[in-house]
Amino acid sequence: MSAVKRKKRDGRNRARFASGPTGTFLRLVFSLAITFFGLLLVTFLIGRVLPIDPVLAAVGDHASQSTYNRVREEMGLNLPLWQQFFIYVSNVLQGDFGQSVLTSNSVLYDIKRVFPATLELATIATIIGVALGIPAGVFAAINKGKWPDHVVRVIGLAGHSMPIFWLGLMGLLVFYMKLDWVAGPGRLDSFYVDFIEPTTGLMLVDTLIEGDIDLFWNAVSHIVLPASILAYFSLAYIARMTRSFMLEQLSQEYILTARVKGISEHRIIWRHALGNVMVPLVTVIALSYANLLEGSVLTEIVFAWPGLGLYITNSLLNADMNAVLGGTIVVGAVFISVNMLSDVLYRLLDPRARR
């Protein structure tokens, strides 16, 4: 969902509801509900339009016509489309995404298993990307046209242009095989895998809950390489945007005012200018985070990371429509929540947006 669309939606709803905290909350819930409904409608229609017969996928090629018909009725596919949609929505709202043909688990169970892996990876990657990307962008902006600017640009460009699977393989080759600084593919050494009870599904958190520091460091050394490689990708983008936002802010009048006051250059850049840069930057970071949360299939394959991207791709290749649609809904819901979060942060950072 683009920022522009979001703005428009806000504008329309503002007219409809009263202002004030309650109004803001109602507006938020309303726009959430509408967006989620749209998401369900689209995924439902995609599921019906795709030339995949869910009945055939369930019963197999050799089933008799009578079995086929029975299963078709069991699945509710003989009902009118609006009724099917209604059932679909009420199922989804109860957390029932159906059964996965591929894993023969319920889709919800599968997603509960794979989504935390992606969430963990994307979060660590975004933290690294932000922690390095913003300073790199600021550094490039204040040295505009000089060698630090060029260095940041070349590193960023390389990060954006290199195929991520190649980077992943090279990373494994160098840091795992040759140098042995990090652990290899997977979320834990295979020896440890069954030791841990998935409370939250986030390996870094679960190991801490169990109080097992060895396992925690093992999880860290597994996540560090894939997260860094994903981070490199988003870092390039974040640094580039930070640089251009920063240059724009540094030419504003209030920066001159701050200089007149005799404030240190350090404070002018990190407090005055960056405070204003963060306002548009928060949307950039949120979008890049949301993209990572979709699951990065290539990285997940290279690092045997049991995440959402891998799950959706495998399901799609095996015509497992329930799993694909369930995954799509999760991705959509993630986008909606991250957008909402960036809206909230936007208001927090920019007093002009608080009404």
Binding site: Q252, E253, L256, V260, G262, G275, N276, L349, D350, P351
Partner: protein, 280 residues
């Protein structure tokens, strides 16, 4: 007018290096300033603002300042390190900017911005600084200083914003204030109010003032002495009270362009410029 010289500028030149060649914004400006109120008038592009910025060393990065002499008391403004500049700016020389809509940081509260200006030069705790800031807001005749203290710049009007600006620039108690078109962005009705507040404070605290404006009448009513600038040169220096005795044709031309309240209602003359004025 005091005899002691605060600021002495001799042959100041500001040149900008642009892709289309060098642009000479200020060409050989010289003046001495005591503890007085000096007006600098001129049309846009005459170099008046650039003169003000050069005194604070805040010329844009592609600009170059040269001067035979530029001293403030015993400080040589022509050769200061960034660290030395920070002790001069705000604390000893300060500048009031043109438009509060752009010259205040939109994401910081007004209180934070004023406190920042004060604490940069005075080692006091947060409570004391807050107290000072609210007193200062009161001094610029803001009726509800507590509320304004906690407001953001977009929440106050232009006239109020400019009073905040004055409060912020005067709070470290500088010796010289440069006011760069401080009222141009304001409504005519608030202009005089804001000017009067600035004038009162400058007199009360015994500060020197450089008032940069294109408004000859406003300048003459608030200043002791006026410099008239044209194309980077000072074409005339004259006492504000003796403005009607101006000799230079440009100053006379400017004066003739002002509408008169009484008598003569014929068309105002168009200012005729002569190339020789720019050679100064």
């Amino acid at each position: 007018m005091s005899n002691e010289t605060l600021l002495s500028v001799k042959n100041l030149e500001v040149t900008f290096n642009t892709p289309k060649g060098d642009v000479h914004a200020v060409r050989g400006v010289s003046f001495d300033l005591g503890c007085e109120r000096l007006g600098i008038v001129g049309e846009s592009g005459s170099g008046k603002s650039q003169t003000g910025r050069a005194i604070l060393g805040l010329t844009a990065a592609n600009g170059k300042i040269t001067a035979d002499q530029m001293t403030f008391h015993d400080v040589d403004l022509a050769n200061l390190t960034p660290k030395q500049w920070r002790k001069v700016r705000g604390a000893r020389i300060s500048m009031i900017m043109q438009d509060p809509k752009y010259s205040l940081n939109p994401v910081m509260t007004i209180g934070d911005q004023i406190i920042e200006a004060y604490r940069e030069h005075h080692k006091v705790n947060a409570k004391e600084a807050r107290h000072r800031a609210i007193d200062m807001l009161d001094a610029v005749k803001i009726r509800d200083p507590e509320r304004v203290f906690n407001s953001y710049p977009h929440e106050v009007s232009g006239g109020m914003g400019q009073r905040v600006m004055i409060a912020m620039m005067l709070i470290p108690d500088p010796e010289l204030i440069i006011a760069d078109e401080p009222t141009s962005a304001l409504d005519v009705t608030v202009q005089l109010q804001v000017m009067a507040i600035l004038d009162d404070l400058v007199r009360d605290r015994g500060m020197a003032l450089i008032f940069i404006s294109h408004d000859l009448q406003l300048v003459s009513s608030f200043c002791d002495r006026v410099l008239v600038m044209y194309q980077g040169h000072v074409v005339e220096e004259i006492k504000a009270s003796a403005l009607h005795e101006a000799k230079h044709p440009y100053t006379k031309g400017l004066l003739n362009c002002l509408p008169k309240m009484d008598g003569d209602h014929s068309d105002l003359p168009i200012l005729e410029r002569e190339a020789s004025w720019a050679e100064g």
